[in-house]
C-alpha cells in the first residue's frame, strides 16, 4: 500500500509539565521529525482508545521534539494525562493549514488567547519571535478563569525572554489572593486604555473557548479590525484530519482541511459557529 495517511508514527513522551490542575504539556520525540508550521495540528493516538487532534504549542523551528498542551476533557485526554515520560503515543501529521505568517509581515499582530487556547498561539508567538522585526508590533492579551488556570504561568512574566518585544497584558475572570493583575474577562483588556492597536492595518489572532472567541470577535470588529484579518481557530469535531470522515464539516469547509484557522469573513455567514 502507498503511504497510509491514517498510520501514526511512534512518539516517545520525553517530558511532562503540569500547567494547571487539568492541563499538562507533553514534550514528544517522534521517531522522525514532524515539521509542522504554527497553527497546523497533529492527531495523537493512544492505542486502544483512539485519536484526538491537538495543535502543537512549541516552536515550529525545533524539529526533533514538539510540545503539545492538553486539557483533560474526554477519554483520550484522560488517558494521555495518566502517561509518564517514557510512554509511547502515536502521532500523525502535520495536518491542516498553518497561520499565514506572510500575511502578517509588516503588520501589527494582536494575539488574543483564552485558557488552554494559548497553546497554539504560543507556537505562533515563537514563530513571530524568530523574525520579530518583520512585524510592526506584537501584542498579547491573555485571560483565563482564575490565576491557576493560566497556562505557561512561569513564562508569562518574561515571555520566553521576549518580554521587551511584546506588549502583553493578562487577566483572570476571578482573582485569588495572590493575583495583583487585572480582573475581568479577556474582552475587558481589549478596551481603549488597556489596548493601543492599529485595527485598520493590523491582524488579530484569536484562540480560546467558543464563547470567548465570539465576544472577542465582536470586540475586534468594534475596534475596526477587518473580518478577513481576524483569524479564529475552528477546531470543532475534527476526527480523520484529512477531509474524509465527514465530522468536522463547517458549511462548505472541512475544519481539518480548510482550517482549522479561518478568517472571520469565511465563517461569519454560517450558523452556530460559536457553539
Amino acid at each position: 500500500m502507498q503511504p497510509d495517511p491514517y498510520a501514526p508514527m511512534p512518539a516517545a513522551i520525553v517530558d511532562v509539565f503540569a500547567e494547571t490542575p487539568n492541563i499538562k504539556t507533553f514534550r514528544l520525540r517522534p521517531e522522525a521529525p514532524v515539521p509542522f508550521r504554527a497553527g497546523q495540528f497533529v492527531e495523537l493516538s493512544v492505542p486502544g482508545l483512539g485519536e484526538a487532534p491537538f495543535t502543537p504549542s512549541s516552536a515550529p523551528s525545533v524539529a526533533d521534539t514538539m510540545e503539545i498542551t492538553i486539557m483533560r476533557v474526554g477519554l483520550v485526554t484522560e488517558r494521555l494525562h495518566a502517561l509518564k515520560p517514557g510512554a509511547v503515543v502515536g502521532v500523525r501529521g502535520p495536518l491542516g493549514k498553518p497561520y499565514p505568517l506572510e500575511a502578517m509581515r509588516g503588520r501589527e499582530v494582536l494575539v488574543v488567547g483564552g485558557g488552554v487556547g494559548l497553546a497554539p498561539l504560543r507556537a505562533l508567538l515563537f514563530a513571530l519571535f524568530e523574525d520579530v522585526t518583520a512585524y510592526r508590533k506584537i501584542i498579547l492579551r491573555y485571560g483565563a478563569r482564575t490565576p491557576s488556570d493560566l497556562v505557561y504561568r512561569g513564562a508569562l512574566d518574561d515571555l520566553w525572554g521576549m518580554a521587551d518585544a511584546v506588549d502583553a497584558m493578562l487577566t483572570v475572570d476571578r482573582r485569588d489572593d495572590g493575583w495583583t493583575g487585572h480582573e475581568g474577562v479577556v474582552t475587558t483588556i481589549l478596551e481603549p486604555g488597556r489596548l493601543t492597536c492599529d485595527a485598520r492595518n493590523g491582524v488579530a489572532v484569536v484562540c480560546g473557548p467558543p464563547i470567548m472567541m465570539k465576544f472577542t470577535t465582536v470586540k475586534l470588529l468594534d475596534l475596526g479590525y477587518a473580518p478577513d484579518r481576524i483569524y479564529l481557530s475552528m477546531e470543532k469535531n475534527m476526527s480523520c484530519g484529512i477531509g474524509k470522515c465527514g465530522h468536522c464539516r463547517l458549511g462548505a469547509y472541512y475544519a481539518c482541511q480548510d482550517g482549522p484557522v479561518f478568517t472571520f469573513d469565511k465563517v461569519q455567514g454560517l450558523s452556530r459557529i460559536w457553539d
Binding site: M1, Q2, P3, D4, P5, Y6, A7, P8, M9, P10, S45, P47, G48, L49, G50, E51, A52, V73, G74, L75, V76, T77, V88, V89, G90, K236, N237, S239, C240, I242, G243, K244, C245, G246, H247, R249, G251, A252, Q257, S271, R272, D275
Partner: protein, 340 residues
C-alpha cells in the same frame, strides 16, 4: 471497445467462467428483495432487479474495516483488498461510485478505499425494472454512467455487452467467440436509453441540481427542516442505504493485551444523535432539524461545491428506507425551489 451480442445462456456461461476464475459479486434475489452478494453460479445473477437494499459501496467502504494494526506503540497499515468483479451495478450506483472515487482521491488519497477500488472490475447493467421511488433521470443518472469497466444492456432477448476500459476488455475475453452486436440491436439499445430516461423522470425534481447550492444558501431557515425533522427518529437508515453517504467513525479494538489491537473504521451517519458529539459530551448538532438540514445541504451544496457533482444520484433508497416517510429528496428540494 469490444461490443458483443449474446443470449442469456451465453451470458450465463461467460459469468460461470468468471466465477471459476475469481471472486464475482452480483445482484441477487434475497427474500422478496435484492442484494449484492458473492455469486456462486450465474443462474443466481439477477439483472432485472429494481433496486438493491444496500448500494455496492459496501465493497469499497465496508461497514467495518480494519485500517491499522497496532502492537507495542507501532502502527501498521492493513488491507485485505483483492481482485473481484462487481456485476450488475445500476447506472445511478455507478455515478455514486464515481463521486466517491473523486472524494477519496482528492487532496489526501485514502489508500484503503482506493486499494479496494483499484482491485475491482465494475460492470454496469442498464435498468430493466424501476423501483417505485427512483428519480434518476431528474439527476442525470438513469442510463450508463462514466467510470464503469463494462456495460450490459438487455435488448429484447439479447444482451449487449460492451467494454469501456482495458479492465473491461480483459473481462470480455471469454466472449471472443460471440458475435459483435448488430446495428439493429444497437439502435434498439439507443431507444431503450431514451425510454429509460423518460420513465425515470416520473418522479421529477423540479429544479436543476446545479441551481441547488445557490437556493440552499438562502434556505437555511426554511420551515421544511423543522417540519420534517420533527418526525425523524434519528435512526440513520437514510444514511445507511445512501450510495453517496460515506462518513465514518474510527474506533480501536484491543486484544486481551491492550497494547495490541486494531484500529477500524465503521460507517457513521449524520442523522445519528452522536455524529457531532465531541470530548466532554458537547454536541455541535444536537437538534434533529440541524442534522436533517445538514444531510440535504451536504447532498445539494457542500459536496457539489467540492467536486462539481450533485451528490444525490436519485436511487430513491432513502425514500423507501425511511420509516417516518420524511426522507424524500424530491419533495424536500422541490419545496426549497418552490418558494424562491
Amino acid at each position: 471497445m469490444i461490443r458483443k451480442q449474446v443470449t442469456r445462456q451465453a451470458l450465463d456461461a461467460w459469468v460461470d467462467g468468471l466465477i471459476a476464475a475469481g471472486r464475482v459479486v452480483g445482484a441477487q434475489k434475497k427474500g422478496g428483495r435484492y442484494a449484492f452478494d458473492d455469486l456462486r453460479r450465474a443462474a443466481d445473477l439477477c439483472l432485472d432487479y429494481d433496486v438493491t437494499i444496500l448500494p455496492p459501496k459496501k465493497y469499497f467502504l465496508p461497514p467495518k474495516e480494519d485500517i491499522l494494526r497496532f502492537s507495542d506503540g507501532r502502527y501498521e497499515s492493513v488491507s485485505d483488498a483483492a481482485p473481484f468483479t462487481l456485476l450488475g451495478v445500476h447506472p445511478y450506483d455507478m455515478a455514486a461510485i464515481a463521486q466517491m472515487d473523486k472524494l477519496f482521491a482528492q487532496d489526501n488519497r485514502d489508500e484503503h478505499y482506493l486499494a479496494r477500488r483499484e482491485q475491482a472490475t465494475v460492470v454496469v447493467c442498464d435498468i430493466e425494472r424501476m423501483s417505485p421511488n427512483i428519480f434518476a433521470a431528474s439527476v442525470g443518472t438513469a442510463t450508463a454512467a462514466d467510470g464503469c469497466d463494462a456495460l450490459i444492456t438487455r435488448v429484447g432477448r439479447a444482451y449487449v455487452i460492451e467494454s469501456h476500459t482495458a479492465k473491461g476488455e480483459r473481462l470480455l475475453a471469454g466472449l471472443a467467440g460471440a458475435p459483435d452486436a448488430d446495428a439493429v440491436t444497437l439502435a434498439r439499445r439507443e431507444q431503450l436509453w431514451e425510454d429509460n430516461a423518460r420513465l425515470m423522470s416520473r418522479r421529477e425534481l423540479r429544479v436543476e441540481p446545479r441551481r441547488l447550492p445557490r437556493l440552499l444558501e438562502d434556505a437555511y431557515d426554511h420551515p421544511v427542516w423543522e417540519e420534517k425533522a420533527s418526525q425523524c427518529f434519528a435512526c440513520g437508515s437514510c444514511n445507511l442505504v445512501c450510495p453517496t453517504c460515506y462518513c465514518f467513525d474510527v474506533q480501536d479494538d484491543v486484544e486481551w493485551d491492550p497494547s495490541r489491537g486494531v484500529r477500524r473504521r465503521v460507517w457513521d451517519g449524520c442523522m445519528l444523535t452522536d455524529f457531532a458529539t465531541v470530548a466532554g459530551k458537547h454536541n455541535f448538532r444536537k437538534n434533529r432539524a440541524d442534522r436533517y438540514r445538514h444531510r440535504y445541504y451536504r447532498k445539494g451544496k457542500y459536496v457539489p461545491e467540492k467536486i462539481g457533482d450533485f451528490s444525490c444520484v436519485g436511487c430513491g433508497r432513502c425514500v423507501s428506507a425511511c420509516v417516518a416517510r420524511i426522507a424524500d429528496p424530491v419533495e424536500v428540494y422541490n419545496r426549497i425551489a418552490e418558494v424562491q
